[in-house]
Amino acid sequence: MPQMIIANRLRDGAVVFLAPNEAWEPAIAAGAVIETDADATRLMDVAKRHEGTCQVIDPQLIEVEVKDGQLRPTAIREAIRAFGPTVRTDLTEVDRK
């Protein structure tokens, strides 16, 4: 199962994904999709380093899938983090997609 790295940005708490260029992006589509254990280890090292330099909090690997043409976390909790509250989809439309 492909994975991504999710975290909260320190300064504003926003949900962000680690991108291939090692930047943190609010849009899941901009995040790096990890296919191998080696890449997972390498990118988690990057994420932990960024945690140490106070860019993000609590980076974690999550499983993702492509569903209806859209990249999304498999777990409900992480999907809600990625796309915002299911009861207020208006709140995060601008921020995350």
Binding site: D12, E51, C54, T86
Partner: protein
């Protein structure tokens, strides 16, 4: 209302400045998250799923209109235009930026509000009957004692690092609207045989993973001993509470493991040394605090029963609202008006910035500038002239704050659940919305009668599911959300914990299950029975059969 004195104002301002420095150090990388977390929690700042969440104390649920206006300002300028009132009578903002928190706290301090002790292992916001000082059935205003306890416990050095959080609730009325039996300490005012007003003290109540109804540790306590006795309860807890296991750290676990008699013995032993010491509350101090809660200067008015009856007979919608949402005031000619935050399909407890401003304006125009927050996540205007009820109702209707469902099935308590909360296992708000959409007929709601549904998205029970007539608990089963129903809970003066009905249900089946329970109740109810009365009379079986079918009997 209580007003900060010079000391309070200076102290809170200094704390804001201190937190500003702490945030600066965190952003500069001088503090790790592990070092910073306890500092932010002490100011009510959590990190939730989408952003930081700031919890703001509303002491004993009482707000001035200027404070509500400040909430509106903050919602508009620092959040996403809304806030959420909680079962602890507090307000939560869900989309807060860390770098802006010091400015937000300064704005709050400017109107005498803080987030201090709205989180952490300390004495939390002390809650009270939302009708305090105005209810006809009240012995005394409980907020005087809430404020006394607040001042005493605010950053108390001995009790700032308790084994776990500590919640106190006070009611001055025999009709408990403050859920005191499910608090770490519950205080019920009543008269002793000599006719003196004092407190029945309950201890060890609580919900969460291991729910308990509080037990009476003292049948009557003189108000002058309130601080010393509460201190002894806290001290015994602080010395004996489990710090090794977060799930066993609340006072309820200790009280129930050692037994109420042993706990009482330890408290009394400690109290012997303190009861006549410096914590004995002088009458002058009670009088001083009491003066802050002195009733406003009411006009001499007559009750408007006949005039209102005439209007009600010609306006059915107004009549329905009067029956449900308007409560008798202790002063003739006035009324207590409940503003429902449970319009169909809305998130219970949520309110937009514009509506906050509107409520503040209505409080100034119609209710002497005061607003109350209820633990059932509604708002109250406590001093409305009966002659102005019809005019006020029209304005509330326009604001969608006049849904006449107070105490009825759609007056649902609901925690933020997995849509917002980092602890949740399941979404609770969609369940509340689904149920409110399934029961929109106001005639039917009135026919069903008094009915509470409380929903929590995890076993921490912020939605008080254990004490709902129907409780709904969201659980995660192998990555899918399911909802367990409990029946027969209550948080009033005859508090009880609900009984589990059966296996969890998927979200889509919950409204239909509620419908089946209601239908079964309507078949067996006797005249004037609430659902809870019927349940206590007939037990769980008819409802189990209704939801799970006859085969449930064999299970």
């Amino acid at each position: 209302m209580y007003r900060y004195d010079e000391f309070d104002a200076r102290f809170v301002n200094e704390r804001v400045a201190q937190f500003r420095r702490q945030v600066g150090r965190r952003l500069a990388g001088e503090l790790t998250e592990d070092q910073f977390r306890p500092l932010r929690l002490m100011n009510g700042l959590y990190l939730q799923l989408h952003a930081y969440m700031l919890r703001i104390n509303v002491p004993y649920g009482t707000l001035a209109s200027k404070q509500m206006r400040k909430f509106a300002y903050l919602a508009r300028n620092y959040d996403k235009n809304f806030g959420h009132f909680t079962t602890r009578q507090n307000l939560q903002f869900n989309w807060i930026k860390l770098e802006q928190v010091p400015d937000i706290l300064q704005h709050l301090a400017d109107v005498e509000v803080t987030g201090i002790q709205s989180s952490g292992n300390c004495v939390r916001n002390i809650t009270a009957d939302q009708y305090a000082g105005r209810a006809k059935d009240e012995l005394e205003d409980p907020r005087v004692y809430c404020e006394l306890l607040r001042q005493y416990s605010f950053l108390h050095p001995e009790f700032s690092y308790l084994p776990r959080k500590f919640k106190i609730a006070v009611t001055g009325s025999p009709n408990d609207r403050a859920a005191v039996a499910v608090h770490d300490i519950g205080l019920r005012m009543h008269k002793n045989e000599q006719g003196q007003v004092g407190f029945e003290v309950l201890v060890g109540g609580g919900l969460g993973r291991t729910p308990y109804i509080g037990q009476t540790i003292r049948k009557w306590l003189a108000p002058e001993h309130l601080l010393s006795y509460v201190e002894s309860i806290l001290r015994v807890y602080n010395m004996n509470g489990r710090r090794d296991n977060i799930h066993k750290a609340r006072i309820k676990i200790i009280v129930n493991q050692m037994g109420i008699d042993k706990y009482r013995e330890l408290v009394d032993k400690d109290w012997e040394f303190t009861k006549n010491g410096v914590l004995k509350v002088p009458d002058e101090e009670v009088a001083r605090i009491n003066s802050y809660f002195a009733p406003p200067e009411y006009e001499t008015l007559a009750d408007q029963t006949e005039a209102l009856a005439k209007i009600r007979s010609g306006d059915r919608a107004f009549d329905r609202w009067m029956r449900g949402n308007v409560i008798e005031h202790k002063v003739p000619g006035y009324a207590i008006v409940n503003l429902s935050l449970k319009a169909p399909g809305k998130t219970p407890g949520d309110i937009t910035a514009d509506k906050m401003d509107a409520v503040a304006d209505l409080a100034d125009r119609y209710s002497l500038g005061e607003i109350r927050v209820t633990h059932r996540q509604n708002l109250v205007l406590v001093d409305v002239k009966q002659s102005e009820l019809y005019e006020l109702w029209h304005k509330l209707v326009a604001l969608e704050l006049a849904t006449p469902n107070l105490g009825l099935l759609t007056d649902i308590i609901c925690c933020p659940g997995l849509d917002f909360c980092a602890l949740a296992n399941a979404r609770s708000i969609p369940i509340a919305q689904d149920i409110s959409h399934a029961f929109t007929d106001l005639d039917e709601l009135q026919k069903i009668g008094q009915f509470t549904i409380n929903i929590s998205g995890c076993m921490n029970a912020c939605g008080h599911h254990h004490v709902g007539h129907i409780g709904i608990l969201g659980v995660d089963k192998r990555g899918e959300e399911f909802f367990q129903l409990t029946l027969g809970g209550s948080s009033d003066q005859n508090a009880s914990l609900g009984d589990r009905l059966g296996p969890g249900l998927p979200q889509a089946e919950v409204p239909a299950a509620i419908r089946k329970i209601v239908d079964a109740y309507l078949v067996v109810r006797q005249p004037n029975e609430r659902f809870l009365d019927t349940y206590r009379r007939v037990g769980i079986e008819p409802f189990k059969s209704a939801v799970y079918g006859e085969e449930s009997k064999a299970a």
